[in-house]
Subunit: 345 residues, 2 copies
């Protein structure tokens, strides 16, 4: 009999609330013969305050044993900016070589968007997850003086760019429209830009049925709000991907609905799935958080582990629920229950 | 008698068409006793193809003599990406130390926006113009091989950050709402992020009447489309500013309306004013280009040179024209004429 061994990291703020609903729906979606085993980990602000630890080598070894990781959200105003981001979230992405940061945006019927009219939004962003300006490379000299110089180094390798570009081409090829847009800023960041552009053009030859396009990142933000229908699959660098996926989430119904996967396609390490939103401490513990993004993240998780039918069932349940949601103000629990019922039914 | 000595760079594509209208309106706005002297320079794709030059040392010396520069647009598909951007536009910004890249966004009545409802948009972005990832620092090794490593170095100095942050605080203080938002990514780009944040907080002490806020750049893109009213003045790094000002232009009526100033507040070098849009070669020479962004750029130019009344008159003329524009399809010339008449009357 089959089984899924899942590491669960509820985290801070609304993290535990949304993760509980994610697990509820995930369980409801699984076939009877699949055994779901979960283990909770206590990473986040509380553990940091108690022990000073964000993620130890032992933690990494422990997490390595799981098939996948479900993460709620990490972060709290009581922890200095950057400590948990770099000490936990980015550390995991780098150590588990999550080079495909997958972020779908789809605006279904009934979902409100800040855009006028009825925009047609159905694209995925493949954000590189292990390079670019996120490597922590850089430093500062004469720190704190009027002569300080601080640098940040974006590191880009042919190895790192090629694997994510190839992954994005394969994803584009598997979609009906088969279109892939590279987003970069190659007219200014020309060293990294040439690397990305050359590799993109080279890999394109292996995918002759995929239509390709290129946009500077600044222009891409314009088209996200004026012509979102022009996007099918987008591949981009770590920082550009961070920026444009928040914008994409905003136009596609808000970050309350945005799922993401930090994926190592080789499965050498467990992949991690998380809502794009943060820990939202202002509404934590009130049953107000929308668990939809976490539920959609469990669909990405199931798809990654090969449960395509179950993943699609969760996504359909969410679409159906969203279409009927209107202005109703259900609690976190109620939304989770409704989704679990739909998925099981 | 007073005079303005203006260097005019029509450039490529629609550049010459929109610049002609900009000059028309600028002349109409000036008091009788101010003598406007203009000299055209032929920078751009044509000159590059003819001579291989983008901007020589002699060119820079020549331009240095002027009170200000009015630029249309530079760029053509026949020139490899990056050549004119770095060889001309960025070179001028760096050589003339244009550390304040000023980009106002205002959505007036009658102007259509991709956002739903009636968003309230009236803010300015002060984008740093001489540092960050734009310095051209970086390189590549094993170029073109499967082992290539390409880097881009963002260079940030206390000197460079403090002067632009101070300028932004002063601009915020001069506006009714007196609010300044720093946009960065200090949870990830922590060396540059700390420098920006520390200087921002330090300079804030000198401006106790200015309300301050901080947003990560990814979150800022969300609020640009969901709550643009939360912004008054924004200060940010060169690359983040590039990205968010295109988005800002898109929501505030399109880049056809977005003006910008590349300003050296010390007046040690001439400042340069240009529409945010590019050369749009696809519609060049057809009288279809909207000259409004260039006209608004001349208002920024006049304000920089101390002609506040005339600058405001141009801005009012544009607002009034936009409010009545509707779906009318006037030519470049007709829009310029209409604005000139309003400004003169
Ligand atoms: C929290 C932060 C480090 C993170 C990032 O910048 O990648 C977040 O914004 C995201 O997009 O997952
Ligand atoms: C053309 C390009 C170099 C430029 C920039 O990146 O600054 C443009 O996008 C702008 O915003 O003025």
């Amino acid at each position: 009999s089959r089984s899924i061994n899942l590491a669960v990291i509820p985290g801070d703020g609304i993290g535990p609330e949304v993760v509980a609903q994610g697990l509820k729906v995930l369980s409801a979606a699984l076939p009877q013969d699949v055994k779901l085993e979960t283990k909770e980990f206590d990473f986040g602000a509380k553990r940091y305050h108690a022990t000073g630890e964000t993620l130890t080598e032992d933690d990494i070894k422990a997490l390595e044993q799981y098939d996948a990781i479900l993460l709620g959200a990490i972060g709290d105003p009581s922890v200095p900016s950057g400590v948990l981001e770099r000490g936990f979230l980015l550390k995991l992405r780098f150590r588990f070589d999550h080079y495909v940061n997958l972020r779908p945006s789809k605006l279904g019927p009934g979902v409100s968007t800040p855009l006028a009219g009825e925009p047609d939004i159905d694209f995925i962003v493949v954000r590189e997850g292990t390079e670019g300006p996120y490597t922590g490379n850089g430093g500062s000299v004469r720190t704190g003086t009027p002569h300080e110089v601080a640098t940040e180094v974006s590191v880009n390798t042919a190895y790192g760019v090629e694997r994510v570009v190839r992954d994005a081409f394969a994803r584009a090829q598997a979609r009906p429209r088969k279109k892939l847009t590279l987003v970069h800023k190659n007219n200014v960041l020309s060293y990294a830009g040439h690397l990305w552009t050359n590799i993109f053009n080279k890999v394109a030859e292996e995918f002759p049925d995929v239509t390709t396009d290129y946009l500077h990142v600044d222009a891409a933000t314009i088209f996200f709000v004026t012509q979102p229908e022009r996007f099918d699959v987008v591949v981009t660098d770590n920082l550009f991907g961070d920026i444009i996926t928040d914008l994409a989430a905003a136009v596609a119904g808000g970050i309350g609905l945005a799922a993401s996967g930090n994926i190592n396609p080789s499965r050498a390490f467990p992949s991690m799935f998380e809502p794009v939103h943060g820990s939202a401490p202002d509404i934590a513990g009130q049953g107000k958080a929308d668990p939809t993004a976490t539920v959609l993240s469990t669909a990405l998780l199931l798809r990654h582990l090969g449960y395509e039918t179950e993943a699609a069932r969760i996504e359909e349940a969410v679409s159906a629920d969203l279409a009927e949601r209107g202005e109703s103000t259900r609690s976190t629990d109620q939304i989770g229950d409704a989704l679990a019922v739909r998925v099981a039914g």
